[in-house]
């Protein structure tokens, strides 16, 4: 199970979705796909859970969903945004 670190916060108002890093102060706007993944990670999710969410919400092939989730997940990991929990 993976989740966002507690100092990360996701906020939404209509079509505007942002990820706030409360340690560094950076504010990043998110597209709908990133938002779907972040929402899942905020609650705590597995890789398969993330892929299912993307498949359920967007009209994409499984290969494309896997590719997008893996890329975004590794990007978030590189930023140190994800922790692994039991």
């Amino acid at each position: 199970m993976f989740r966002l670190h507690p100092w990360l916060e996701i906020r939404r108002d209509g079509d505007i979705r942002i990820l706030v890093d409360n340690r560094s102060g950076s504010i990043t706007s998110c597209n709908p796909t990133a938002w779907a993944v972040l929402e899942e990670l905020n609650r705590g999710a597995t890789r398969n859970g993330l892929i299912s969410r993307v498949l359920g919400e967007f009209d994409v092939s499984r290969e494309r969903a896997v590719e997008d989730v893996d890329w975004f997940f590794s990007h978030l990991s590189a930023l140190g945004y994800i922790e692994e929990s039991a």
């Binding site: 505007i16 409360n22 504010i27």
Partner: protein, 713 residues
């Protein structure tokens, strides 16, 4: 509770008194009487509505601490201060020394012992940091100004020249370093600190320690936007464990009491921030601590007064954002003159122009306004909007901005919605964007408020009018006729014996400036850029630096005029499409910021000057708003025309307060009607102050990503 607070000046680099007063108003329940203390009647932020109950002038620090103490004790015997909070770098050491006497008199002052201040003062800070192995940009204290150039060249440029107590200037060469050092050291004869400029992310931490040495709390921010002066224009609260730990470690090696601001920079590639500066007072953004649920000024007061205080949260709420904007007010002249006369006056109890968003009428005119930023310059569109908000026939106001940090975009009291215009030289791109906005939010009148964008609006004027958007713009020919290079060389006679164009030479090189100095008799000259800026050149030796300054801004020529002293007078006017002047208003400027913007002014009666200006505007076939800036030689009663701004002036909201609403006159004239004009009131003084506003980061993202933000409806 009666609290005296200093630090209500500073203009475009605001002191923190206003922010502390706002935080206390927001955070203290029950009766609170705020006394604003300052060293100048033009402490503009003390005059913002509802901030100070009373305003008092103190003797200046250079007049001696004894006189300050006598004055404060005299005020205390009359008003019974419970507490005094100094908020200016210069007066903290003074009040730290006076604190024992003040405490004995019953005034609580939460400050450290003078010896502790001394350890962290700028001249000693480099040694302190070295001694405690604290990373910091390379800095050196130079006690003798003769050594500044050598030390500056050793440190390399660019670097920051810092006054011993306050003030700093960015310099790029030895000559500028010496000039800056002389200015910052002032007449007191002290030295300066030279500090390497280190680029990187910037942070600031406000911390407050109570009288019993307990750390009451700290709030850390990251600066999200920094203007050309190096000031943080926007910041967000962060929760950084390293900064928290650093603050606690630092406080374990100094015996601190009261507020403290620590400024940090994190160079790229480094893990931890470097300590860049220390201030012994709250920062000017401290109202943010209230918005973050951790009101540090209120906590300090509660601790000192021994009353229970509980912050809204166990630590500051991160992600809360502030942006520096401005507030403006019209102050009864009798209050300001009372302050000048007797040193004390009632504060400003007129209604705040920062009132809540108005109830928009169902019917009326929709107006779009450009120039709504306060980032580097105070743009006039903010004053235009403030004036139009006072007009009941204005239904909706749209702010047209050029960037995410244009503060007006988020002010619901000024704009119902804001839209980002393209930063493009192509008029077609501008037209496309306005057409898109107009399709969704019909615009009746559009008022461009920036000099630089007007040529693009000339190009799309017909297309906008075809869409049904009315404008009140001059022709390109009239626009060029009043440009400085043409104004000073193309017109010699303004049609009045006492309204004159200054003697002028155009210089294409440093040698030409030398020639102009010689031609004007060898005295001091003003070197001006064709569009912006003015440098005072006192001697031949200073000419190259002035030329370099404008040459670096890609100017290939400058305007040279004899330097003149006098009072600054501005005439605001609105001309209709027949070039008849519909309304005029003349103001004497009382306070200007370092960039020349007006922060305080008063209305004066100058009918002959106004008529001369109106005749000149008719002669060049002017249409729309304009501002003529004059220098008044009082001795000979002569007015010298310095420039004509082709749009509303920044202080134009004052016109609405005085009863002649120039922006409304322009809106009506754009729509083809001729308004009735009355004479302006002469019993008010215009005051402007820096004023932090809270911004929702989601709305910031909306402007950044979608190019729009909705404030009302």
């Amino acid at each position: 509770m009666r609290i005296a607070i200093s630090g209500f000046g500073g203009l475009d680099q605001p002191d923190s008194g206003l922010s502390v007063a706002r935080a206390l108003r927001a955070g203290i329940e029950g009766d609170l009487e705020i006394h604003a203390l300052g060293y100048d009647p033009m402490m503009t932020s003390a005059w913002m509505p509802g901030v100070a109950d009373y305003v008092h002038v103190l003797p200046r620090v250079e007049h001696g601490e004894g006189r300050i103490l006598s004055r404060v004790l005299a005020l205390h015997s009359r008003h019974r201060f419970d507490m005094l909070i100094p908020c200016v770098d210069e007066d903290v050491p003074v009040f730290a020394r006076l604190a024992p006497v003040l405490r004995k008199a019953g005034v609580r002052v939460v400050l450290p012992e003078p010896g502790q201040l001394n350890r962290l003062e700028r001249p000693h800070l480099p040694d302190f940091l070295f001694e405690h192995l604290i990373m910091a940009p390379a800095s050196v204290y130079v006690p003798d100004l003769d050594d500044v150039r050598r030390e500056a060249e050793r440190l390399r440029f660019p670097l920051m020249v810092k006054g011993e107590v306050s003030g700093q200037t960015l310099v790029r060469n030895g000559h500028d370093a010496v000039l800056a050092a002389e200015r910052l050291a002032g007449s007191a004869g002290g030295g300066v600190v030279l500090q390497q400029v280190v680029a990187g992310e910037e942070f600031s931490v406000a911390v407050v320690v109570g009288e019993s040495a307990r750390v009451l709390g700290e709030v850390a921010i990251r600066k999200l936007a920094i203007n050309d002066n190096g000031d943080g224009e926007c910041g967000t609260v962060i929760d950084d464990p390293w900064l928290r730990r650093f603050v606690r470690d630092l406080l374990s090696i100094v015996t601190w009491r009261g507020p403290l601001e620590l400024e940090f920079v994190r160079p790229p590639g480094t893990v931890h921030p470097w300590l860049r500066d220390v201030h012994f007072r709250f920062p000017s953004w401290i109202i943010l601590s209230h918005w973050a649920g951790f009101n540090l000024p209120a906590l300090m007061v509660a601790d000192a007064m021994r009353v229970p205080a509980q912050p809204q949260a166990d630590k500051p709420r991160p992600g809360v954002v502030f942006m520096q904007g401005v507030s403006e007010a019209a102050v009864p002249a009798r209050n300001v003159s009372a302050l000048k006369r007797v040193g004390s006056a009632e504060g400003n109890r007129r209604r705040s122009s920062f009132r809540q968003a108005p109830e928009n009428p169902r019917e009326g005119i929709s107006v779009a306004v450009t120039g709504i930023s306060t980032f580097n310059m105070i743009n006039p569109g903010l004053g235009v909007a403030r004036a139009l908000r006072a007009a009941p026939e204005i239904r909706r106001l749209y702010g047209l901005n050029y960037g995410t940090f244009d503060s007006g975009s988020y002010q619901a009291n000024l704009f119902d919605q804001a839209f980002r215009l393209p930063i493009s030289e192509e008029p077609e791109a501008l037209l496309m964007k306005i057409r898109e906005i107009h399709a969704e939010h019909p615009i009746d009148v559009l008022i461009p408020c920036l000099d630089g964008e007007l040529p693009r609006f000339f190009e799309i004027r017909e297309a906008l009018e075809a869409l049904g958007i009315a404008l009140l713009l001059p022709t390109p020919e009239a626009f060029d006729a009043r440009a400085k290079l043409n104004l000073f060389t193309g017109h010699r006679d303004l049609g009045a014996d006492n309204v004159l164009i200054p003697r002028t030479m155009i210089a294409y090189s440093t040698n030409d400036i030398y020639r102009a100095i010689s031609q004007f008799g060898g005295g001091t000259v003003a070197v001006k850029g064709p569009l912006f800026g003015c440098k005072r050149v006192n001697s031949l030796e200073e000419a190259p630096a002035a030329w370099d300054y404008f040459h670096r801004q890609n100017e290939d020529r400058v305007i040279v005029q004899p330097w003149m002293d006098g009072e600054m007078i501005a005439v605001a006017a609105v001309c209709d499409r027949n070039h008849e002047t519909l309304s005029t208003m003349t103001a004497r400027k009382l306070a200007n910021c370092s960039r020349g913007s007006t922060w305080s002014a008063e209305v004066i009666s100058a009918p002959e000057l106004e008529q001369t200006f109106a005749r000149f505007l008719k002669r060049i076939k002017w249409t729309g708003p304009a501002e003529g800036e004059f220098l008044h030689d009082r001795q000979n009663d002569r007015f010298y025309l310095l420039e004509i701004n082709p749009r509303f002036t920044g202080w134009i909201a004052f016109s609405a307060e005085t009863g002649v609403n120039h922006p409304l006159v322009a809106v009506r004239a754009a729509l083809g009607s001729r308004p009735n004009i009355t004479s302006p009131r002469h019993d008010l003084v215009f005051m402007r102050s820096g004023y932090a506003i809270e911004v929702d980061p989601v709305r910031m993202a909306s402007l950044s990503v979608e190019g729009r933000v909705t404030n009302n409806g």
